[in-house]
């Protein structure tokens, strides 16, 4: 009996154990072989498993491993589950994951934590695969928390720097807030249905066993978990800070795979969300707000990775919008194309940073197009893809999202309009990035400029593959492939004819963004500076990311610490509880001090006291004799 799913999951775990336990003793070459070879192997096994799935015409593969916790007739099992949705995810995770592993070989070359890096990366892959293959929410949650752990470890990979360690901690804790919601959602589901297996949950939802109010509750609570992992408002704050990690990590975890786990979760439980238009509306509103908000912030960031980070938040917002309007398959489609072009962008940014010896500030770049041509071309392709220029990947998926936002039954004009503006902004900030980094005259420091070099072939090769995927990925008809699992919402009556004009409109938005970016940042960036000066207040608010971090610090973290320290520790614990105790103790001590005078050591005084006591006793008992 073969267990392909188990094999897929266990291969990266093996890599983690080998590199984690023996890493420093293996030598660079062996670490590389293990660290990259096993993910590639996992990808191949995954391809085999998906072929097996298709051979069975989409009937899900299930591998039940063991019973985690038995409770009488009920039990919580560990089982893996492959249907078309998880198949798409597994291919993306292992495929893009393998590419990024290979890219890392060049990027991390010579780092003292080389083995540790690959161990963590493999660990991440293990948990991510557990997440997408888990049959029950419990297994998914194991992966969910595990990827958070890997993310924590990798963000703080260079832990000597307190800021980087703090960024890791922030990511973990922000995610934990979401996880609390996730746990509650899980609890409600279990209490209501007595199972956590997601296919069973969807089936129960379809059979009407789940009341609509409960579905809304579950939907919203689980979405709280998703806002943490997928960096939606208000829990988005950790993702930009997470850029402290090595750039391939940003590409793999914080762009292509882990952050999309929230989207996957909602799509996985589509049955629950289909029951609850209210929960879906929450998703749509949060998604579109996040998309817009993050896009505005991305406009003014000067750190190349921060721009991409906010872009990721924004694109995740698009996916959540798609989920919110009921187009779950389209959300997964955008997830896939986004994995391609955003990985390409991040790795391209990594190549730039590599070329510039660690420089990340756009204000000290420029003119790189001729110096590192392969990076430039691939970056440009990915930029065009995310901006939505046809026929690149982003065009198809984003167009579908806007279409269902406008014409879907759960769509609405406002959702569409904000989405469209955001699409324009996306094009604007991405081309701004392209111009500032590659096309404007060089602003590099001379000693940096002298050392600019194209990255090694292991890195550029990956870039080329990803650029090809970004260009052609739109032709993979993911929504159609998933239609049996995730039916697309019906189009509102009378709007079916709007599809072509909408597509043209979307292209116009992308081109408009391109033109605006060229106008503002193309030459010597004077128009942009003038605009920033005119809108100084807005510019400042955007540069400071709407002061969200400051708000959290001032209104949540500090009051919490203040209450814990000043009220609970000093007043309740020390003053009240210990004070009471010490009060009792000093009362005892005081009375002892008073009574001790009697005990003066004089034998005959004691004799008299005994006599007096006896006499008193006798007198007292006399009447009773």
């Amino acid at each position: 009996m073969t267990l392909p799913l188990t094999t897929i999951v266990l291969l990266p775990l093996l890599g983690f154990l080998v590199n984690g336990l023996l890493g420093p003793r293996l030598g660079t070459r062996l670490v590389t072989v293990v660290g990259c070879g096993l993910p590639v192997l996992a990808f191949l096994v995954a391809v085999g498993a998906v072929m097996q799935l298709e051979a069975g015409d989409g009937a899900a593969l299930v591998e039940t491993l063991f019973t985690w916790a038995p409770f009488g007739e009920r039990s919580l099992d560990v089982a893996l589950y492959l249907d078309r949705l998880s198949a798409v995810m597994v291919l993306v995770v292992t495929g893009v994951g393998s590419l990024i592993h290979i890219y890392s070989v060049g990027y991390m070359k010579g780092d003292e934590g080389y083995a540790r890096y690959f161990a963590y990366l493999n660990l991440f892959l293990f948990f991510m695969l557990l997440l997408v293959l888990g049959r029950s929410l419990l297994v998914l949650f194991v992966g969910w928390e595990g990827v958070g752990l890997a993310s924590y470890l990798l963000i703080g990979f260079w832990f000597d720097d307190p800021a980087k360690a703090a960024a890791g901690k922030k990511a973990f804790i922000t995610n934990r807030v979401g996880d609390a919601g996730f746990l509650l959602g899980m609890f409600v589901l279990y209490a209501a249905l007595g199972t956590l297996e997601m296919d069973a949950v969807n089936a129960a939802a379809a059979d009407g066993l789940l009341p609509a109010a409960t579905a809304t509750l579950v939907g919203v609570l689980l979405f709280v978990g998703a806002t943490g992992k997928s960096a939606q408002i208000p829990l988005h704050v950790w993702l930009p800070d997470a850029m402290a990690g090595p750039t391939p990590v940003s590409a793999l975890i914080h762009a292509a795979t882990m952050v999309t786990a929230g989207v996957y979760l909602v799509a996985r439980l589509a049955g629950v969300y289909q029951l609850s238009p209210e929960a879906s509306l929450v998703l749509a509103v949060v998604g579109v707000a996040t998309a817009f908000f993050a896009a505005t912030v991305a406009l003014v960031q000067t750190d190349i990775k921060k721009v991409l980070a906010y872009s990721t938040v924004s694109q995740l917002g698009f996916m959540v919008l798609a989920l919110g309007v009921g187009a779950h398959g389209v959300a997964v489609f955008h997830l896939v194309t986004h994995a391609f072009f955003k990985a390409c962008l991040f790795l391209g940014a990594g190549s730039v940073i590599h070329a510039l010896g660690g420089e990340q500030d756009l204000r000290r770049m420029g003119g790189l197009a001729r110096r590192i041509p392969i990076t430039f071309v691939t970056f440009a392709v990915a930029t065009a893809a995310i901006a939505g220029l046809p026929p690149l990947a982003g065009f198809f998926s984003k167009d579908e999202i806007l279409w269902f936002a406008l014409a879907g039954e759960q769509g609405g004009l406002l959702l569409f309009l904000v989405g469209a503006v955001t699409a324009f902004l996306t094009s604007l900030y991405m081309f701004r990035l392209l111009w500032l980094a590659f096309l404007t005259p060089s602003r590099m420091a001379p000693e940096v400029a002298a050392h600019v070099h194209e990255s090694p072939r292991s890195m550029t090769g990956v870039l080329v593959v990803l650029a090809l995927l970004s260009a052609l990925g739109g032709f993979i008809a993911v929504p159609h492939y998933l239609e049996g699992l995730l039916p697309l919402p019906a189009v509102a009556p009378g709007r079916a004819a709007w599809h072509l004009p909408l597509a043209l409109f979307a292209v116009a938005l992308a081109l408009g963004g391109l033109a605006a970016a060229r106008h503002l940042f193309g030459g010597e960036a004077r128009p942009a500076a003038a605009l920033a000066a005119r809108l100084a207040t807005l510019h400042r608010v955007l540069t400071n990311k709407y002061y969200v971090d400051e708000l959290y610090e001032g209104f949540i973290h500090r009051p919490l610490v203040w209450v814990a320290d000043r009220v609970l520790l000093r007043v309740v614990d020390r003053l009240l509880m210990d004070g009471l105790l010490h009060g009792v103790a000093s009362l005892a001590r005081g009375s002892a001090r008073a009574l001790v005078r009697v005990q003066n050591g004089q034998l005959q005084r004691y004799g008299w006291l005994v006599l007096v006591g006896l006499g008193a006793g006798l007198l007292w008992t006399w009447p009773h004799v």
């Binding site: 916790a69 949650f141 928390e145 595990g146 804790i173 509650l184 610490v561």
Partner: protein, 506 residues
């Protein structure tokens, strides 16, 4: 066999008296051997334990003071099985962990550890209320000496606080025990202290309430539940490492075990009445402990306050009256014993090297002591409740049980659900304080009060490896343990639920 498990440490302590006082190596070796054998025996018993029944196994019952109906009556059931195993497992680790830390009065120290071990196992095994009380009180003396002799600077303050708090609780319990014996005698004419006879004792609600209050106070001090907790941080901070490990690892569980074995099932009607209070206090403990752990600068205090928080989950699980919750509570007891035992051992290791517990003195230990950092991180993650560690299993099942029960009670009362939902906040706060601790200790620029630092020794590595292995075992495959505890947990649950008014929730 069970009696061997119980009396072996006592025999060991007697054996130590013939070891020459200056032969420290012999003393240590003998103690370790005794503890090791005890663990092997306990593990064998665990393997032989039949899962299908909730009845006592490996039972011994011989008259002790027959005139009063007092029996030497010990036995294993699903409630104490895991706790005995935990105690026996921690024993050798505690002993080995103290090899380098305790250098004066070695013989007395190990004798006290052995006596304490005897009393702790006895408390878990006792099936006779009188015997239970004797063991319960007997634990106090060696612990008093361990903190009072080998403790830190303010050890006397800490020991007195510890002993006074616990003695206060014990006296109330004694009064209740006497009253119970008296009523049993007057009702049946036969004196009996057998715990099984005392379930559903048939007292009126008022009497039950008073008795439960006496028991509950005693147990709540031990757990400890807010607001009876202030002895714990002081005791932990002043205790030597071995003392802290035993205190956190086993002693605190006496409180929760007491609720499970005695408090709740002996007085089920009163327990139902007290349930809102107990549940509220459990949730308050979870959050209160976590918040206080967040603002401490002393590493040991952080771990100490985290204990308060973690034992809150145990109480929450137990008073959920849900099978999952009760079992989750039991697992969480074991898990907490392993995790905080491990954390205290690790704090002890760094203290031995640097003589400071002040968090501000440390940083970047991941660079200075990579092996130490790996183990500390693993324990931190277990404490945070990361899935696949025992911390998750315990927390998750306890919370799920509480929530499940709350959901089922929803038509009658909303507070159980509201409390269970509030308790989930503890998950966030737990991450907050533990990552603060780990982050400041392990990451950032490398510094320590005393350089260079010696790497982990083989002995230390072996101790930590054993702990981490146990933590992952419970995290990954709690199934067998849950199976062995299920029958007894079901029995307790049915006793508790029988007290509910008809038409109540299942």
């Amino acid at each position: 066999m069970l009696n061997w498990v119980l009396f072996l440490p006592l025999l060991g302590a007697l054996g130590l008296t013939v070891v020459p006082a200056h032969r420290n190596d012999l003393t240590r070796g003998l103690t370790l051997a005794v503890m090791g054998v005890q663990f092997v025996l306990a593990a064998w018993l665990y393997g032989q334990f039949q899962a299908a029944t909730g009845a006592l196994q490996f039972e011994t019952r011989i008259p002790w003071i027959p005139q009063w109906g007092v029996y030497y009556h010990v036995g294993l059931d699903g409630l104490n099985l895991l706790l005995v195993l935990l105690t026996a497992f921690l024993g050798p680790l505690v002993v080995a962990g103290a090899f380098s830390a305790i250098t004066t009065g070695v013989r007395l120290f190990y004798a006290m550890v052995l006596v304490l071990q005897f009393a702790m196992v006895g408390t878990f095994l006792a099936q006779d209320l009188f015997l239970f009380y004797v063991f319960w009180e007997a634990m106090l003396i060696p612990m008093f000496l361990i903190i009072g002799i080998w403790g830190g600077e303010r050890r006397l303050y800490a020991t007195f606080k510890f002993v006074l708090y616990t003695a206060f609780g014990s006296i109330l319990m004694l009064a209740a025990v006497i009253y119970i014996a008296y009523t049993v005698y007057t009702a049946t004419g036969v004196p009996s202290f057998a715990i099984a006879d005392l379930y559903r004792g048939g007292w009126s609600l008022e009497v039950q309430s008073l008795l439960l209050a006496a028991f509950a106070l005693s147990f709540a001090v031990k757990v400890p539940m807010v607001p009876l907790h202030t002895w714990l941080p002081d005791a932990h901070v002043e205790a030597p490492t071995a003392g802290s490990v035993i205190l956190a690892g086993v002693l605190l569980k006496m409180g929760t075990y007491g609720f499970l074995k005695l408090g709740l099932p002996m007085f089920p009607e009163a327990a139902l009445l007290f349930r809102p209070v107990l549940m509220t206090l459990a949730v308050v403990s979870i959050i209160y402990g976590a918040l206080l752990a967040l603002v401490q600068e002393d590493i040991k205090k952080i771990v100490a306050y985290s204990s308060i928080s973690h034992l809150g989950y145990v109480m929450l699980g137990l008073v959920s009256y849900d099978l999952m919750g009760i079992q989750g509570g039991i697992i969480q007891m074991v898990s907490h014993g392993l995790i905080s035992g491990g954390l205290f051992l690790m704090v002890g290791m760094i203290y031995e090297r640097c003589h400071s517990r002040d968090l501000a003195h440390y940083g970047g230990l991941a660079r200075l002591l990579p092996g130490y950092a790996v183990f500390f991180m693993l324990l931190t993650l277990a404490s945070v409740g990361l899935p696949s560690t025992s911390g998750f299993t315990g927390e998750f099942l306890a919370l799920l049980g509480a929530f499940n029960a709350g959901w089922a009670e929803l038509p009658h009362a909303t507070w159980p659900l509201a409390l269970a939902a509030t308790a989930v906040l503890g998950v966030v706060l737990g991450a907050l304080y533990m990552l603060r601790l780990a982050g400041r200790l392990l990451f950032g620029p490398a510094r320590a009060p005393h350089l260079p630092l010696a790497g982990l020794s083989r002995r230390e590595g072996a101790i930590l490896t054993a702990l981490v292995a146990a933590i992952f075992l419970i995290g990954l495959a709690p199934g067998p343990m849950l199976e062995k505890t299920e029958a007894s947990a079901l029995e307790i649950q049915s006793i508790l639920n029988a007290a509910r008014p008809a038409g109540g929730t299942p």
